[in-house]
Assembly symmetry: C2
């Protein structure tokens, strides 16, 4: 088991695919957070969301550098995932500042959980890189605080934001499904192969359960029913 | 002279004013760079401008923390400068990707030069903070490279962008004038006082000359006539 890591190295096509998807995820997350920051009712709120955006672009740089290390071009690695990720953001464009905060908190949390699940399937170097890119959590407290305060001030807000949180999760899953159907190498990475551990259908189901459970915990954290 | 720094400490009103202006400058620069990034013709171009934006938000954090250390609230310190800085960006909203790049390079350079001039008038702690926030230059090469390439491909581009660069400088000066007329404490900081070195009218004129000379150098660097 001590040398078991090499057995877990997927072929580079799948790895570059995965890194490309994550990198474009960071780039769009930056873009949308920067955009949503404009809805902030205060300059400090705006700055908080801008700072969350800046963290994403730091992650982007780490992922893009790893793609380059593997001999690929970040632009080309990201291209296949543009439709699904743009689609997700188009379907979940917040119409209020609070919707933007819920999306920032819930979306960031979901992305982190997914990264952590995926990291376990990768070579040690990529795994460390991905875990490193999960390192900062400082700004999420801001979102939790503001959403809870808004619900305390007006309980109807909670009902609307709970619906919004469920929609975010639904759209994320539907776009993930779209990517899985399109990208054989990426799906194979998740499913494993004869020479490499992966997830069978039952394991994929358990991963899905863990992701939805943690999503529910975050909704509770925000004061929303999942 | 070795203890001369304390003589250069302006009153806190002026210092907080200055830090507020710089902080809001960073916050709007972030916002506009993030917005302009959307005009990028390629994902790597978009990422480059997003990374420039992220640098600005890092500077914002340094400046906001210093405002808090001085016992003030960043939001309140920034508020007086919102109209001038928003006005500058409204008057200089790029309509093409190349205009965005020229603005990023020229605007960033002008801000840095101004910071450096101002830093010389401040207490050593604030000075170090400001000089530290000038530390990163990696991304500006990208703008120079792309603008030069575009001019090489089509010389008419250079003429239009040269006009644009002059307009940027003109708007920056006109908004700076507006701030100087409004904010006595800030103007007094620049002008100095009986107990503190500052700039007389001739010195202000020389500073202005240095800023325009360096602006001209940057225009040349881009392949544009200033």
């Amino acid at each position: 088991m001590s040398t078991g890591y090499s057995a877990a190295v997927p072929d580079d096509t799948a790895l570059i695919d995965l890194l490309g998807a994550l990198a474009y995820g960071e780039l769009t997350a930056f873009d949308r957070l920067a955009d949503d920051a404009r809805m902030a009712p205060t300059l400090s709120g705006r700055a908080a969301l801008c700072e969350m955006a800046a963290v994403e672009i730091g992650h982007y740089r780490l992922l893009a550098n790893r793609i380059i290390d593997l001999g690929a071009i970040p632009e080309e690695a990201m291209a296949p995932f543009v439709p699904a990720l743009d689609g997700f953001h188009e379907m979940t464009s917040p119409s209020t500042w609070l919707e933007g905060l819920v999306k920032a908190y819930v979306g960031d949390g979901l992305a982190r959980d997914f990264y952590r699940e995926i990291a376990a399937l990768l070579d040690v170097e990529t795994r460390d890189l991905i875990l490193e890119s999960l390192d900062s959590t400082a700004h999420s407290e801001f979102a939790v605080d503001r959403v809870r305060r808004a619900i305390a001030a007006d309980h109807r807000v909670g009902g609307r934001l709970a619906l919004w949180g469920r929609r975010l999760m639904g759209e994320a899953l539907s776009q993930a499904q779209r990517v899985a159907a399109d990208r054989d190498a990426l799906t194979a990475l998740l499913a494993g192969g004869v020479d490499r551990p992966g997830m069978d259908l039952a394991a994929l189901g358990r991963m899905f359960n863990r992701l939805t459970e943690r999503h529910a915990e975050r909704m509770t954290e925000l004061g929303l029913s999942a």
